[in-house]
């Protein structure tokens, strides 16, 4: 049950963790030795022009090395949506780079997580209810194997298959056909969908078996629950016992698992985007890391952290909505 008190505590948790994330995000790069201004100028001009140093130092707010002063500036800039300037995409701002890449990732991750949790829960419910049968044992073993396959391996296999053997069936890189201009027309949307099939399929394939197995285990445990005995005694049809009694209770811990796994899927998205050259935040991170684009790395980490915090917040709300007992805990 979602009560006001619950909402308030959850929100304050989310705010508190975000604040901590901000501080860490601020401190970490400053603990790294070296001067970003010198780094930029050296990569650009191969020597240090004094007037440029002053200019860039004030641009980056480094003329005053006091940490508190810098933190204050950092927060103010952040609230103005300013995360600095990307080295690699110079002169684009980090905010800009993130804004163009994040939607692709959200689309990829959102669709993949929705599909894999739905498929995972449904299959898990089914095999959990029929646990102990030969079919169930075989499926569980198969899934156990699938969960241990790394994302990039599947991604690479798909690349090979669709590049070498079944060519031209599905695109293996990019988010849309390069011949198209992004706009809300049918051709473009179809192109986006076609390009997303392999990355999404990869993400789903690696994450749904885990959800299935969790759901299977919680379903199996339902058999020992006394409320299932009462449901049978009451003459409730089996279909409804599975749905309203067993699965409804079994899905509660799975909901948490799905959210916890979200971080894992984010990591997976990184590999998948890199392998499929998908212009999401993971791909941007890859570019940023390989080109030592510190501000961008920093900004992306911040966004990922905040995404996970927000996802957790919504998971808590969802959990409370599903389980009337939560307010007591």
């Amino acid at each position: 049950m979602i009560t006001r008190k619950y909402l308030v505590t959850r929100t304050s948790y989310a705010v508190l963790t975000s604040a901590i994330a901000l501080v860490i995000n601020f401190l970490l790069p400053r603990l790294v030795p070296g001067n970003p201004v010198y780094t930029i100028l050296l990569t650009k001009y191969h020597y240090l022009p004094p007037n440029q140093i002053k200019l860039l130092e004030s641009e980056f707010g480094l003329q005053n090395p006091n940490l508190l002063y810098q933190f204050q500036r950092y927060i103010i800039e952040l609230f103005h949506g300013n995360l600095g300037i990307s080295y690699y995409y110079f002169p684009a701002t980090v905010t800009n780079v993130i804004a163009t890449h994040l939607p692709w990732t959200l689309f990829l991750l959102g669709t993949a997580t929705a599909i894999s949790s739905l498929v995972g829960v449904i299959i898990g419910k089914y095999i959990g209810w029929h646990s102990g049968t030969k079919g169930e044992t075989a499926i569980s073993a198969l899934f156990m194997g699938l969960t241990s396959i790394p994302f990039f391996w599947i991604a690479v296999i798909f690349q090979l298959i669709f590049a070498l053997y079944i060519t031209h069936l599905l695109p293996i890189s990019g988010a849309y056909s390069v011949t198209l201009v992004p706009s809300w027309n049918v051709a473009f949307i179809l192109s986006v969908l076609r390009h997303s099939i392999l990355p999404i399929f990869t993400l789903v394939l690696v994450s749904f078996p885990g959800f299935s197995l969790t759901m299977r285990n919680t379903m199996v445990n339902q058999n020992k629950e006394d409320y299932l005995t009462l449901a049978k005694a009451k003459g409730i049809p089996e279909r409804l016992i599975v749905k309203n009694y067993a699965a409804r209770n079994a899905v509660l811990p799975v909901a948490t698992h799905i959210v916890l796994a979200f971080g894992y899927v984010v990591a997976g998205a990184f590999f998948v985007e890199v392998v499929f050259s998908y212009p999401g935040i993971g791909y941007a991170l890859y570019v940023a890391v390989t080109s030592l684009d510190y501000p961008l790395v920093d900004g992306i980490f911040l966004v990922i952290t905040l995404t996970v915090i927000i996802a957790n917040f919504f998971a808590d709300i969802l959990y409370a909505y599903l389980d009337p007992r939560v307010e007591l805990k």
Partner: protein, 332 residues
């Protein structure tokens, strides 16, 4: 004249465990008469719950009903419960025989409002009429207010949950109510209230009640007939008055004397029961109570289990019915 509403014949229920099969019910035969309160009394592990579960065919892995018959006599026809197909069984349950479970604290679906747990039962049996009115009625019979409908199980106290279970068990107006230790988890005051509400409802609804308890004093306060269970069999069955006045089986005698000595608090001059029940994984030759019986003898170990009829309608499984009781009376 009394007519049987439920006849159980030669019922064998086992639990397959890694260390062997537990014979929880051993060739059990028992009749329940229409409109009576039959109390099943016995110590822990004697098979009382197993009987309740067997009647509703709720025995699940690793348990199994391996043989026997259970017949429900309705005015229209006889229903052979063990022969029902699964869909027939589903339709049969609850509208004919319902049950209050021993684990009453955990039998309600934790994520559904109380109301919903009534409604899905009504829907499962295509019951017609105003559901809300019906729920209100049975909640009230069980001593609860309407507001309970909208609550979740975790918002109820133990006593309230138990009352919800009673209301649920009655709500489809069954002929037989199996009440498995319905008051054991509750404090004495609530226990009394619940017992009296069950008794009141019983008369109002013309119910037959199978009341399972380990507490002979509770049983004696409400039962018309008693079935004393020992090691998966009823060793003495008959009218409560007669059994309480003059128990025939040594086990009943000892059980009763411990209740009396507790109640009057006088020095237990009577023999107490030592030992423990036999291992149900082994075949028990002859009388199962022999090891603990003060009057047991050689012949008991080859005694072919068979309920002998003694005075009136009391059946006893003992070579020397009434002997221990007689000896104890003499020694007083």
């Amino acid at each position: 004249m009394s007519f049987p509403i439920l006849s159980i014949k030669k019922l064998n229920t086992v639990f397959h465990t890694p260390s062997g099969d537990v014979m929880a019910l051993r060739n059990l035969s028992l009749e329940v008469n229409k409109g009576e309160v039959l109390a099943i009394v016995g110590e822990s592990g004697s098979g009382k719950s197993t009987l309740g579960f067997s009647i509703l065919r709720l025995i699940e892995n690793p348990g199994e009903i391996i043989s026997g018959s259970i017949v429900f006599h309705s005015p229209e026809r006889d229903v052979h419960i063990l022969d029902l197909s699964l869909p027939q069984l589903r339709e049969f349950r609850w509208v004919n025989i319902s049950m209050i479970f021993q684990s009453a604290m955990n039998v309600l679906n934790p994520i559904a409002r109380i109301e919903k747990q009534f409604i899905d039962t009504f829907e499962a049996h295509n019951i017609e009429g105003d559901y809300q009115e019906r729920i209100n009625k049975y909640l009230e019979i069980a001593g609860l207010g309407k507001q309970v409908k909208k609550m979740f199980p975790h918002e109820l106290s133990g006593g309230m949950k138990q009352r919800v279970n009673i209301a649920l068990a009655l709500s489809c107006e069954p002929s037989i109510l199996i009440a498995d230790e319905p008051t054991t988890a509750l404090d004495v005051v609530v226990q009394k209230e619940i017992l009296s509400s069950i008794m009141r409802i019983k008369d109002e609804l013309n119910l037959t009640v199978i009341f399972i308890t380990h507490d002979l004093s509770v049983a004696s306060s409400i039962a018309d007939r008693l079935a004393i269970f020992y090691a998966g069999r009823p060793v003495e069955v008959g009218s409560a008055d007669k059994i309480l006045r003059s128990p025939q089986h040594p086990y009943t005698t000892l059980l009763l004397s411990s209740v009396i000595s507790l109640n009057t608090n006088r020095e237990a001059s009577l023999k107490t029961m030592g030992g423990s029940p036999p291992d149900l994984k082994k075949r028990i030759p002859g009388c199962s109570f022999l090891e603990r019986c003060p009057i047991g003898e050689e012949a008991c170990s080859t005694y072919d289990l068979f309920p002998a009829k003694v005075h009136g309608d009391v059946f006893v499984e003992c070579i020397h019915p009434g002997k221990l009781e007689f000896e104890m009376e003499v020694n007083k």
